[in-house]
Structure formats: C-alpha cells, structure tokens
C-alpha cells in the first residue's frame, strides 16, 4: 500500500442541465517524499482533485487514503498553499505563521513555538519583514509567508494550487529553488498544480497530465528522470528535457487540445 492513494475517484456535480461528471475514475498512487506536479487545461478538474486530498472536497465515489486512513475532512497533516495566499490581512507575517504553529502544537512551550516561527520565516528569507502585514508585502513575499506557514506545521503532504502563477519570472524561479531546498530538507510529499511545463520539469519526480473535462481522467504520467540536486541550465540543455517537454506539449496542445485555444 502506498503512502497516498487516490482510488477510482469520480466527482459529479449536480447542475441545471443534469449531473455533470467532472472527474471520471482517477487512480494515482504517490510514494512518501515524492514531488508530483499536476498539469492540464483550465477547468479540467485539477483543483477539484487536489481539494479531495486536502479534504475541502469529497469524491462522489472512490476514496482518497493517506497511510491507510480515508480522508474525509481538512487537517493540518495535508496543508494547502492556496493560490491567493489566504493570509489574514490583520496579522503580521509572523503572527500569520504563529497562528498555525500555535494551533497545531498546543503542547509546545511559548519559546519552542516562537523558535519554529522564526526558523521558517528565515528559511523563506522573510526575517526582516516578519512584522509587516500582508498589505505591505509583495505577491512573492506573501507566497513565501504562505509557504512558511504551511511548512512550519510539518505536514505529511504539502498541496500547492498554482502557487507561483501570479509571480514574475525571477521571483518564480527563486521560489522554485526555495521550495526544492525545503522539500529536500523536510522530506515532505508535495502535490502541486501548475500550468508551466518548465516548472513541472524542474521540480517534479513525476508529472501527471490530465485529459480535458468534462469527465477528465489521468491521461499519462511522465517520469522526470533528472538527478537531484538539479541544475536548471544543465537539465534544460539536455536532450531528455527537450523530448519530455515536446511530449508534454504535444499531449496538451495536440492530443488534448483545448477547444477554446
């Protein structure tokens, strides 16, 4: 039995025109410590799928199990990094992280909790902005706070829904590197939705490519064989990279071309 198992999951929403099948029989097994990226056209059901791992959504049929336990509700063992950060605007960066730590480690002493918060803010390079509120932080800094908050509570699975979609290219690369460093250190299992094939190829162990909705399935799963730690330039120059990239592009834009595109 693998660490995280998505077993014959379907999702049907009742709509005005009768039931709409969004996901139709999704099977996926994820090993502990794996880095999985999920790619697919807009609206195919990526968020829906990961929300069933985080517990914000429930499958119409099928099950999602983490270490043998069926997932039925959200919990800090499957922490989300939301696309729109979901920080509380009236709390400082420090207090946003502290809120999570305080809630998840009620038995820790004050000093221990403070140390955890500081350690994780430092990890994402935000020590100096710790006392700023989200309104005073840039998009990249907010996403760093969200990542610090997610990792500070040591989740078993870290779920990221297009975490870097709204960021400029440079900030995006910085955060990708930070995420990789953190992933290596924490050995956390990562599920991440992205629209960026290069990002997926740089980060993931496996790339899950979904077919178009309605009734989306997992079309193919690509193994990304590059050794770690990865060097961006080096892998991008390799033939394997170009092959994988073309393969994924062909999947998305020829075999499962979006009608609107």
């Amino acid at each position: 039995m693998s660490f995280l198992t998505i077993d014959r999951v379907t999702k049907v929403y009742p709509t005005a025109n009768g039931p709409a099948t969004i996901l139709d029989g999704i099977d996926l097994s994820v090993n502990e410590g794996e880095f999985i990226c999920l790619i697919g056209h807009s609206g195919c059901g990526k968020s829906t799928l990961l929300n069933m791992v985080s517990g914000f959504n429930t499958p119409t049929s099928g099950t999602v199990t983490l270490q043998g336990n069926q997932i039925i509700e959200p919990g800090p063992d499957r922490m989300m990094v939301f696309q729109n950060y979901c920080l509380l605007p009236w709390l400082t960066a420090y207090d946003n992280v502290y809120l999570a730590v305080d809630s998840v480690y009620p038995a820790h002493t004050e000093a221990q909790k403070k140390a955890i918060v500081r350690e994780h803010l430092e990890m994402v390079g935000l020590t100096e902005s710790a006392s700023k509120k989200p309104g005073q932080l840039s998009g990249g800094m907010k996403q760093r706070v969200a990542i610090a908050r997610a990792l500070a509570i040591k989740p078993q699975v870290l779920i990221l829904d297009e975490p870097f979609g709204a960021l400029d290219a440079i900030t995006k690369e910085e955060l990708q590197d930070e995420l990789l460093t953190i992933w290596t250190e924490h050995k956390v299992t990562v599920l991440m939705i992205t629209h960026d094939i290069d990002e997926a190829l740089y980060l993931a162990d496996r790339l899950v490519m979904m077919t178009n909705g309605p009734a989306a399935k997992i079309g193919e799963v690509l193994d990304i064989p590059f050794d770690r730690p990865r060097d961006r330039e080096e892998i991008m120059a390799s033939n394997t990279y170009i092959e994988l990239r073309n393969y994924a592009l062909d999947f998305l834009f020829n075999r499962y071309a979006h009608l609107d595109d």
């Binding site: 985080s54 509700e73 959200p74 922490m79 729109n84 509380l88 009236w90 809120l99 998840v104 309104g135």
Partner: protein, 280 residues
C-alpha cells in the same frame, strides 16, 4: 544608500509641501464658512429686528447672550442649567443606552450571523421591529419600566440596536471563504477563530452599524426628552417653546447639530483607527 537618499527626498518634499498643505486645508475651510456667512446675511435680511415670527441671527445672539451663549455651565438648580450641562445630560443617556445596544447588537449579531437556522428564524422579525420609529416605543417602555430615566435608556437602546445587530450579522455572514478555509485546514479552536478571524473580519461592518446607531440615538434622545422632561437638551427645547423663547430654541438647535456631527466623527475616527490599523 538608495533608501536613505529617497527618504531624504521625501523629507524635503514634505517640508516643501507644508505651505500647500495649509492651502489645501484653507480650501476646505473657507467655502463652508463663506456659505454660512451668506446664509446668515440672507436670514438677517428676511428677519429684521422688530419683525414678527422667526428672529434674525442678531436678535438671537442678543436675546440668548446672557447666560445661554456666554455661560454654558451656569446652574441655577432645577432645570435651569447651561446648555453644556443640558447637552451633557442628554449625552449621558445616549452613552448608557448605546452601550447596551453595542453589547446586545454585536453579541446577537455574531450569534445570528454564524447560525443559518437562527438567522432564518429571526431575520424577518428584526426587519419588522427595526422599522418601528423610536418614539413609538416610548409609551410602552414608560408603562413597563415606570421610570422616565430607564424609559429614555430603553428608547436609545431599541433605536440603536437594529442597525448594529443587522450590520454585525452581515459582517459575520460575509467572512471570506478563504479565511474559513484557513480555520478548517488548521483546525483552529472556536476561541482562536472568534478572536483572530471572525471579529477582525466583521469589524468594518460592525463600525458601519455603530455609526448609523449613534446617529439614530441622537435623533431619538432629543425627541424622547421632550416627552419625559428633566434636564436634557430635548426638554430644554420643549420648555423654551412653552415659554415662547425662540432665541433659546435656535441656539439649542445649533448645539444639537454640532454635537450630532461630532458624535458621528468620533465613531468614524475610532473605526478608521481600529480598522485601518488592522489592514495596514
């Protein structure tokens, strides 16, 4: 380096701007003062000394000068007190009644806003109750409470509580799903959720309710005091009317207007401090 020079530039700009700041303030103050002066002149022309009916501004100032304009704090016992004392008596009633409407309005509003069943059950009732004019409550509260002072507090309370309650309810219902998701994934305790998410998120709505509530309270207390008597600006106006003293009425109306405006500003100021401080 870069930051220190940019700070310097900002400082210089501020100094350079201090004259323009005064100018912009003047632009705000001068027009209303000019308008006021024009209106007073027109009023004076329409109501010259010796004419019947409404006195002109000069007659009012002459008639009410001693003691009502120059000595707001005189106290000859009974109801014969300066306007500041009268106003203060009214304000005290408002503060007591308003305090209870904050406690009840915010408390019930949170309860109703967080529970759909209670909301569906009570909302129609509140929508009806809130349209009852404040003074319509007065006979009932006088009869039930058998005490003028308590009846006045009750009228203030029942007037201000609806906007506070209804706005708080909406504020709690409008808490963004994002924040609720944070609560759910972190499994925040109810206490933490209440203080760290619910209250800060609903605060702007609560303050909107408070601002409407304090305005309505001030409207209600003046009218209520006319009926219940005693020290207070409302009864002072009624008493002056019975003595056919229009000068005093008009001076008192001026006070009522200014105090109502200041109350509004006060709530607005506290609200902007607390809410803006939060979201900076």
């Amino acid at each position: 380096m870069a930051t220190s020079t940019s700070k310097l530039i900002i400082k210089q700009r501020r100094q350079g701007n201090s004259n323009t700041w005064i100018q912009s303030q003047l632009k705000k103050i001068v027009p209303p003062l000019a308008a006021l002066a024009v209106l007073l002149v027109i009023w004076q022309i329409l109501c010259p000394p010796g004419s019947q009916g409404l006195p002109g501004p000069i007659q009012i100032v002459q008639g009410a000068w001693d003691p009502f304009i120059i000595n707001p704090f005189f106290d000859n016992g009974g109801n014969s007190k300066g306007l500041a004392i009268q106003i203060w008596a009214s304000l005290q009633r408002v503060f007591v009644g308003f305090f209870f409407s904050i406690v009840v309005g915010v408390g019930l509003g949170i309860l109703i806003g967080s529970n759909k069943v209670i909301y569906r059950a009570l909302d129609p009732l509140f929508q009806i109750l809130r349209t009852i004019p404040p003074l319509a409550w007065l006979p009932l509260s006088l009869a039930a409470l058998k005490d003028n002072g308590a009846a006045a507090y009750f009228v203030i309370f029942i007037t201000a509580v609806w906007p506070i309650l209804i706005n708080t309810t909406v504020g709690v219902q409008q808490i963004p799903q994002d924040y609720v998701n944070v609560k759910r994934v972190l499994k925040l305790s109810n206490k933490t959720y209440f203080f760290k998410i619910l209250i800060p998120s609903a605060l702007p709505y609560i303050f909107t309710g408070l601002r409407i509530g304090i305005g309505l309270s001030w409207l209600a207390i003046i009218a209520a005091e006319m009926l219940i008597g005693g020290v207070g600006i409302g009864f002072f106006i009624w008493d002056s009317y019975n003595n056919a003293n229009l000068d005093r009425i008009i001076v008192a109306l001026f006070y009522v207007g200014v105090v109502g405006y200041l109350l509004d500003l006060l709530v607005l100021f506290i609200g902007s401090k607390i809410v803006a401080e939060d979201r900076k």
